[in-house]
Amino acid sequence: MVKVTINEIVCKGCGLCVRACPKSVLALSKTKLNAKGYHPAEVAVPEACIGCASCARTCPDVAIRIEKE
């Protein structure tokens, strides 16, 4: 089980994490807007996550935290 936490306040919706994910787990939210006016990234397919941390390493705002069981 992998837990991906995205800090939606800090996220600027750049989409680099979506590009980096090898399993297409992440997507930019189509409904949510954060205080900065961006569509934050969200975990769309949590069960596909392998916990490689590629998204977290590429995030320019260090908004992703990853925990593994």
């Binding site: 992998v2 837990k3 306040i9 800090v10 600027k12 919706g13 750049c14 989409g15 680099l16 979506v18 590009r19 980096a20 961006y38 916990g51 941390a53 590629s54 977290a56 390493r57 590429t58 995030c59 320019p60 705002d61 260090v62 992703i64 935290r65 990853i66 925990e67 593994k68 069981e69």
Partner: protein, 254 residues
Amino acid sequence: MSVVFEKTQLLTDKQFHYCPGCNHGIIHRLVAESIDELVKEGKLEAGNIVGVAPVGCSVFAYDYFNCDMFEAAHGRAPAVATGIKRAKPDTLVFTYQGDGDLASIGTAEVVHAAHRGEKIVTIFVNNAIYGMTGGQMAPTTLVGQKTTTSPYGRDEAWCGAPIKMSEMLSEVPGSYYIERCAVNNNANILKTKRAIKKAMQYQLEGKGFCMIEVLSTCPTNWGLNPVEAMKWLEENMIPYYPLGVYKDKGAEQK
């Protein structure tokens, strides 16, 4: 639950002011994590770190690093770092500079710092444009690249070819370790971190001048979205600015 990845303590809680997709954030994190690891390995005291921030987009870098920081005049970060390192030789001193700061107004400072073999680490972020001032042509702008001051693309006959700092400084006898990296994918992000950490280790061992050039995107001023900008960097910048180690006196001696 074990933590696989979290924000390093060497970065403050302040949110980056950079545009969405700007690579500065990634490079800040790599610098902070490298320092953090050296502290945890016991090679460095936590209070013995001084960074020198430049003028440019990363002018507020002093707000983001959880160590002592100094704000230098435009381009003068290597000169300031020289003073700090000579006064306090046990300190880890690094400068963080963009291409407008290092390759344009501050070229003299960095060339002379390298010639003197100052024991400092310079992180040089090259995004081929002046970001903060609104996307004007920089010395590192590629031939044919459109900017606000080269609307028809950079003309080599008129403006010359883009300056290659890593190649230039690797010819300087005083430089110790020069490498060019990028943060366009996971493998390159890890390589960049390894390079930054290696440079800092060389400094702690009292070796000479080290510079890590990191290719970066500027989605806002390139007029591309962050994902397209990464692709543009891979297709245009990396062929002109080849990645790799340009000089490593430590490896030559082995």
